[in-house]
């Protein structure tokens, strides 16, 4: 019995995307007149992509690459994504409050918080209809 009908993405896709993100990062900071920062951030992205690509002994890295994906690893991926979202929203809320304390409008942080919550509510509504 097939327990996971999802077609797996190729193993190289995630490492490639992570590493490739270094190129627009470098370009953006270069355009902004800070090529050294672009090289640093792009280099970090490239290094992470290469680590993902060659880290074959680590279960965590294999899961990030989508190797041997099954229902358990997908559940772990959902939980890890939830944790990531929680940390990001908490950090945004902290930055929003800090902006308020500094007398700034905090518009960027507030807009991102609204976007996060709208995404959450929309996803719940859509998933609820589909399940």
């Amino acid at each position: 019995m097939q327990t996971d009908a999802r077609k797996p993405a190729p193993e190289w896709l995630v490492p490639f995307l992570v590493a490739a993100l270094g190129v627009p990062t470098l370009a953006a900071f270069w355009i902004g007149g800070r090529p050294e920062l672009g090289a640093l951030y792009g280099g970090v992205s490239l290094l992470f992509g290469v680590t993902l690509a060659i880290g074959s002994r680590s279960d965590t890295l294999r899961m990030l690459r989508g190797v041997d994906d099954d229902e358990r690893t997908l559940l772990l991926e959902y939980k890890a994504s939830t944790a990531m979202g929680f940390v990001l929203v908490t950090a945004l809320a902290g930055l929003f409050l800090a902006a308020g304390i500094r007398g700034e409008n905090g518009l960027v942080y507030g807009a991102l918080l609204v976007l996060a919550e709208v995404t959450h509510v929309t996803a719940l509504a859509v998933l609820n209809r589909k399940s």
Binding site: M1, Q2, T3, D4, D59, D68, D70, E71, R72, T73
Partner: protein, 66 residues
């Protein structure tokens, strides 16, 4: 969830990797089920029971009793 996967697998001389391949899941998932760290989905539980030619109730024990 308590289960008898390890015993059933051992009785047939199968490795975790071989059972994992038959179930189309990773070896780590079979290990997690055997060590009760992961409760499989209903489709996987059914597949395991069918593979061992028994029933889900015989393999998995929600109330903690074998």
């Amino acid at each position: 969830m308590l289960n008898t996967i390890r015993e059933l697998r051992a009785a047939r001389g199968l490795s975790q990797a071989e059972l994992a391949k038959a179930m189309k899941v990773s070896r780590q998932t079979i290990n997690a089920i055997e060590t009760e760290r992961y409760t499989p989905s209903l489709p996987l539980a059914l597949a395991l029971a069918r593979y061992f030619e028994t029933t889900v109730e015989e393999v998995f024990h929600a109330d903690g009793r074998p």
